[in-house]
Amino acid sequence: MRSEWRGNIWLVVEFLLVALILWYVCMQLYSLYWSYSPSKGYDFDNVYLSYIGGVPESAPGHISYESEEAEKEANRANIATLVNSIRQNPDVEEVGTGSNAVPYNYNYMGNMLWTVDKGDTLVYNYNRRVMDANTVKALRIRGSRGESTEQIASYIEDGLLVLSEFDPAIIELYSLGDSVRNFSSRFAAKNAHIGDKSYRVSPVTVNYLRRTDYEFGNAGVMICSPEVADDQPGQIIIRVKPGAGRRFYEWIQTARLRAGNLYVAKTESLDRLKDSVHAGEKIVIVRMSLIMAFMLILIFLGFLGTYWFRIQQRVPEIAIRKAMGATNARIACRMFSEGYILMGISLALFGGIAVWLSLSGHMESVMPYPTKWIYKGMAMTAAVMLLMVVAGIWFPARKAMRINPATALKDQ
């Protein structure tokens, strides 16, 4: 090995550089894998989302109102008309309204909610989702302890706030503990406040409604009706009968539903919305996978080429060893053990550099992950590279095992 020091140094350098990059890639992929968690406690199969559009003033048939209040009142009625038109469709099971009601939207609007429980003042900035009782039914939102959709819907109908439990992913990631896990339950059935307004909180909680399936955002969600939020809904949420989706979609595209200054604009299924929201993550997965494949192929080729050439150079030596009694297994072991030594040196260097980078904070901006993840990432990297190195040495080792001592020494 010492006589091959130059080639070995190249291999170690290459291994080290690839390991560091692969470490980053493993972390990216691991964070996506770890954070992947579709929200529980609701169903969005056969659910469609329509956006309510406003006809501009310059459009024909635009109605002007005397006051803002009059317009608000008219719009409430117009929305009801649109909803009823949709409800007439025989393929529709349930239809409701809301704003930022469904998952897979980047809504960051929140309200600081506070209450007092056993002498403690509890405060949290809940992410707000506005939906009426029908939307709760359309999404089949259930309680975190299995309470029925109808029950949740009735709370919304009664003007209560329904809070979600905190996102379990965040709790686990930051080891926040059970007190945080049950935080929202401490608001249950109490009066809570937003600013100087007071609201009644429902006695049950629901599961967290993530913005995407890879979400790491706000921990808790608050659901309330449009009346409670004093908000004109901008969305219509429709559940259709199973198998009727395509037909319903064709119908709503051509129906051109309009009431007053409002109309049903773009409609899409929640499946499609989910795909487009996750397109970014999919691209990250593709890109990271490409980089990983590139790196692993490089390492594989590096070891394959180097050891292949070494076998060619060492044919007489291997032939002599075999003539002296070495078995094929011993020949192969020798090859692999050389590779393991190189890998051991490389991994030791990689480990040292990686630990230093993590502890020094230099990787903070590039890999903002918890320390335990970073070590897991290092282990994943080492395992994957070990595999490639073994694969790279395997073929030359097989060639070495096949050397016929008589032929090789005669040629020599």
């Binding site: 190249w10 024909p60 999919k282 080429g305 292949w308």
Partner: protein, 429 residues
């Protein structure tokens, strides 16, 4: 010629007699070039000219506006209002012409005589837009400055929209509803790739003071400005002039309790196409350049280590030959040059494979192309765009640099071998 054909013959012989090393070399090169050209092509698509954005190298953009409130930490930002757009960007020295337009197309619903609504990409543009960008007018005409200023409801639509909305391509004079508002079709243009980020669209409507949106006392709205520079114009000088106009605007706004916040505008096309910054902060061009250099370094250096090792292996088999060459008068420099130039041929062979793979990948995977906010553009480049001479030159450059990085050290080591030891085949390093 004889010498070159001898060299080629020798190279083929050498490659054929070491198939494993040859395949590893070619694969490593192909892989490296595949990734390099994919990254380079994606990046070049932000800046290289292609119709209708053939003037890209001569364009600058006044994109956003942020206004702060005197006596408060708050601010508000978005695209510009029409009036500040004119004050900041009209008739700048070194600018041949400017156009007011929406830099990002908007989704809207359009309906034609088929009665079926379509979600379209709609862009408001003024009359100069058609002079700065080179769309192909298939039918009719563009709207002129008077029609623009008056806010006349006319539209220029794409060929595809003509078919979708009217089942027809002869649609001049037809009415199209955009968001329930009727417009008369006055022109039809050839379809454009969505990769032409600032010029593509399905429906183009007039932009003017009358039609632009406006809020925050007219400071903010939906207007951006594209400027076509004169040949040889100094971009820094133009930026400095805009900065000076910001100062003048600040004086005017002081009475209203507002102050315009300058963010290094106007931007060039690369910055605008890459995006990734908000209307209330400056783009991080140096950060992007740094990231790009690191990417290139990794994509070149790592395979180069492999290739260097493979070349070293190939050379070791020929060490006796190099000794003979040295004995017969070949200098060290000449030997190095011969090895590097031979290796260039191998690099080019592998690179061609890698490049072809990258072409296929770039043309088939639309997920590569995103705007600054990570939304998929949904279009892939045409082959003609990827065969642009700039990209081909860059391919050659990549081959050259990869060759130099991977071959220099083995070639240098080969040239330093002791001649006598080499001839006798005793050199084992």
């Amino acid at each position: 010629m004889t010498m070159n054909s001898n060299k080629l013959r020798q190279l083929v012989y050498d490659l054929r007699h070491q198939p494993v090393v040859t395949w590893i070399t070619l694969t490593g090169t192909a892989l490296s070039v595949f990734l390099m050209m994919t990254v380079i092509s994606m990046e070049q698509l932000y800046t290289m000219p292609f119709a209708p954005e053939s003037n890209r190298p001569r364009l600058l953009f006044g994109q956003n506006m942020e206004v702060g409130f005197i006596g408060s930490q708050g601010s508000s930002s978005s695209a510009l209002g029409y009036s500040p757009a004119e004050k900041l960007y009209r008739r700048l020295p070194g600018v041949e012409m400017e156009a007011m337009f929406q830099i990002e197309s908007q989704n809207a619903e359009a309906e034609g005589s088929t009665g079926r609504p379509y979600e379209v990409k709609c862009r408001r543009v003024d009359h100069n837009f058609w002079k700065i960008y080179d769309h192909t007018l298939l039918e009719g005409r563009y709207f002129d400055s008077i029609e623009c200023a008056a806010g006349t409801r006319m539209a220029v639509i794409s060929q595809e929209m003509a078919r979708n909305l009217f089942n027809n391509e002869n649609v001049i004079g037809f009415e199209v509803l955009v968001g329930y508002v009727p417009y008369k079709v006055v022109g039809v243009v050839k379809n454009t790739s969505a990769l032409a980020r600032q010029a593509s669209g399905d429906i183009f409507l007039p932009m003017s003071q009358a039609t632009a949106s406006s809020y925050q006392h007219g400071m903010l709205g939906n207007v951006s400005v594209v400027m076509l520079l004169e040949d040889g114009a100094d971009k820094e000088k133009i930026r400095n002039e805009v900065k000076a106009r910001y100062a003048t605007l600040a004086t005017e706004l002081a009475d209203q309790g507002m102050v315009p916040i300058y963010h290094e505008q106007p931007y060039d096309v690369g910055t605008v196409s890459r995006g990734g910054y908000g209307s209330n902060n400056s783009p991080d061009d140096s950060g992007y350049k740094r990231e790009r250099m690191i990417t290139y370094l990794i994509l070149l250096l790592l395979p180069a280590i492999n290739l260097s090792s493979m070349l070293h292996s190939r050379i070791r088999r020929r060490v006796s030959e190099f000794g003979i060459r040295r004995a017969f008068g070949c200098t060290r420099a000449r030997l190095m040059g011969d090895i590097i130039s031979e290796n260039f041929v191998v690099t080019v062979l592998g690179a061609l494979v890698g490049w072809l793979c990258s072409l296929v990948f770039l043309m088939s995977y639309s997920g590569l192309y995103q705007n600054g906010w990570g939304d998929i553009i949904g279009d892939t480049p045409a082959l003609t765009m990827l065969l642009d001479w700039r990209l081909l030159l860059m391919l050659l450059g990549v081959c050259f640099i990869l060759n130099i990085i991977s071959a220099s050290l083995p070639a240098w080591l080969a040239s330093r071998v002791n001649t006598v030891e080499a001839i006798n085949g005793r050199h084992t390093k």
